[in-house]
């Protein structure tokens, strides 16, 4: 092997050991130098099975430990986390599947729903808006902090808050900031003694639609999915292709009746649906049988089997992308514009700092 190629090998070995395996830099240099010597000077020949086998075993161990075992170390300690639903009731999350839902998960798995539906909500970016309010005492300092922030982030210093902060009123400093800039703005303003309010918005096609901040949202969840959501899934059916919509939050979107109809014949609900019908989960209803569970499709009436009931139980239990977690918060509006009585200042400060730090 030529000296140049062997140097490349050495470079590769050292960068892999430094950047990927996180080795101490002298060790990484040593590994690189060793690889260079081995391939260049000592002229390791690729003629013996032993050389090949040795290199392969080494790479196999690196691959297994760097990707699988390290991820397992990080994720195997996941425990319940506290969260709250829309009404503010706190509970421990995730909730294990109850009743027939566990059996429904098996039906989901057996029917291969994962071939067309993912169960992972993603987000594209997070944006933060910052508002500030200065009193008469610290008005000059706050004004200076604002200009300092504009200068340091290279923004134009004309218009808006740059012209002058009103005294005793909330004024928008900047919208659509990334977490680093937002924390800078917050630090500058807080140091100058101004009150700061931060609004957190998540953007992404999968998230809830919002005319202003997320116009393309499809409403598949309030936040992105994280590993915590799948603590009890056996196995997590994340999926890699969306021929149909994402189901991570389907339980919050549809009613039992709608899900039953979609399973029997999706075109009852949507004319142009491409989803195959799942009549094998239903049986034809007897003549004259009445009840809420009877579904008319064309001139025939069907009733769900136990499998269909369990599957729908499982689907209704999928609400993961609804509840905020420390590592995956949901949108947080400006606390100052909420109609509720304003929370105590200390509490407010804690709330505004939390999402910024969570996203670093």
């Amino acid at each position: 092997m030529t000296i140049g190629l062997s140097f490349l090998c050495g470079l590769l070995a050292s960068s892999v050991s430094y950047f990927m395996l996180g080795l101490w830099w002298p060790v990484a240099l040593l590994v690189g130098g060793f690889a260079w010597l081995a391939f260049g000077l000592l002229d390791v020949k690729m003629n013996s099975t032993f050389t090949l086998l040795g290199g392969m075993l080494l790479i196999f161990c690196v691959s297994l430990s760097a990707m699988v075992l390290r991820a397992n170390d990080q994720l195997s300690g996941l425990q319940f986390a506290n969260t709250q639903d829309e009404e503010g009731t706190e509970f421990r999350y995730p909730v294990p599947l109850l009743g027939q839902a566990r059996y429904g998960e098996k039906i989901y798995k057996a029917s291969g729903c994962v071939a067309c539906h993912t169960q992972q909500v993603t987000h594209e970016s997070v944006e933060l808006d910052v508002k500030a309010m200065a009193g008469e005492k610290n008005h000059a300092a706050a004004q200076e902090a604002v200009s300092r922030f504009y200068r340091s982030t290279g923004r134009k210093t004309s218009g808006g808050a740059a012209l002058g902060l009103p005294v005793g009123e909330w004024e928008t400093i900047e919208t659509g900031l990334n977490p680093a800039d937002a924390s800078k703005a917050r630090n500058f303003l807080a140091a100058a003694g101004a009150s700061v309010d931060v609004q957190v918005r998540f953007r992404g096609e999968d998230l809830m639609q919002n005319e202003h901040s997320n116009p393309e949202g499809r409403g598949w969840g309030r936040r992105r999915s994280v590993a915590q959501d799948y603590l009890f899934a056996e196995p997590p059916m994340l999926g890699s292709v969306r021929i149909g919509p994402d189901l991570a939050n389907v339980g919050a979107r549809h009613t039992r009746d709608a899900l039953m109809r979609i399973l029997l014949n999706p075109r009852i609900i949507r004319k142009d649906s491409k989803m195959p019908q799942h009549r094998f989960l239903f049986e034809e209803a007897d003549e004259g049988e009445q009840g809420r569970h009877i579904i008319q499709d064309g001139d025939k009436a069907y009733k769900p089997t136990a499998d269909a009931e369990a599957l729908v139980d499982y689907l209704l239990s999928l609400k993961g992308a609804n509840y905020p977690l420390p590592e995956a918060p949901v949108n947080q509006p400006f606390t100052s514009s909420l109609p509720d009585p304003a929370p105590a200042p200390a509490e407010e400060a804690a709330k505004t700092t939390q999402p910024v730090e969570a996203d670093k």
């Binding site: 090998c9 090949l52 993912t118 969306r242 021929i243 195959p276 799942h278 009549r279």
Partner: protein, 467 residues
Amino acid sequence: MSSKPKEDEAKKDPREAVDRSCCGPVLFLAFSAVAWLLVYSFFALLAGVKVHASGMMADSAWLAYGRIQPASLLALQFGFLVQLGLAVSAWILSHRGKTVLVDGGYLVFGGLLWNAGVTLGFIGILNGNSSGLEGLPMPGEVLPLLFFGFVLVGLSLVQTNNRRTDEEMSPAQWFLFAATLWLPWVLAGSYLLIHFFNAKGVVANIVDWWFIHNFVKVYLTFVGLGTLFHFLPAMTGRALAGRGFAQFGFWVLLLFGSMGGVGPGAPVPAWLSALSTVTAVFYFFGVIAVWVSLKRTINGVTAADSSDSLAYNLMRLAAVIFVTVSALNVFFAFPGPGSVAEFTIYGPAKELLFSLGFVGVTLIAALYHVFPRLAGIDFSPRMTRIQNAAIILGVLGATLPAALGGLMSGDAVLGSGFYFASVGQLLLFVGSLVLFVNLLGAVFFAMKNCGCLSSICCGIKKKEAGT
């Protein structure tokens, strides 16, 4: 099985003895591989049609789209690609090493076990016992069967390679040797982690991604490249240029192909996605090195023997597809373009283009070269022309419109690309049917002429009944 007398023969007329030792086992594996290709293309066609006609066969749970689609992929990857890969590897390793195939009986027995495993996995998925994972959709119980089947075949291949006449190993031998060892390692690792140690939560998915990444980026790639590294120099009669490039490529592909495969927004720790991007970029350097070596070998020459020109041209096409798909992979490994392509039907279409267009076409081309030498009879030329056109057009037709459509229309929408893809699947089905009939006919004719096939004809008859 003692191989002493065969070795004595090998000294007299090496090539013929080598071919005689390969004949039965290699043809057995090749035949069952082609049968699985037929199974794949039929079920893939059926799956495509079910998307257009949503009410068709809706009363049968066995034929739900979610069952036949993963089952057909299993038939393609484990039934067709792995088996034909093993058959071609066995032939190349014994030819390159100028030695008879050691213990060919292991190939037949291991092949039977492997076929039993794939069949059980296939039926298991249709029956609703799928594991729910995408890389390893078959029920966990069949994995040990697959593992032992592969190990038996691998034992024979490794021993054959160890008894090579020349001490020096060529790149073709590195790649095929590494592939033969690598698949059982990752298969056993994934089985143990997922089904034995019961990986919790998304760890199971990470192991699954790790397996499928290794299967595609290391195993399938190495089988395809090893075949190209043997046949392209052999058919043009030139020595391989740039052995150093091949060596560099080998280690880079192995190192960076063995990690990665996690999408940009996956619900796992973010460093996994970052690692996947990094490895995808470094992997491409290996691809470039391999490409330089191959390109310099075949630059400006045609096949030395006109009977090889078909196989030679197919392999050149496969090499172009390999480089194209690899370049696309790097581009879409970056988070920006990656999140556009994520979850769209671009992903599966690209995988299919890679596994059938590169690996599948390479192996079929190798079969065109190997089969006449083993069976003493060539394929029917007219049917060969039909099956080639149908398979090439089918692969391109099933993948390119779907990939483009997926990128243009985004996820959760089925554009018109899907309709065109079904035309491609239909062509693919026709092509594999003709290939199957062609091979079947040639084998029957060969059995009249050549005694060596009669030893395995029972095996073949069993296989026919099975599929």
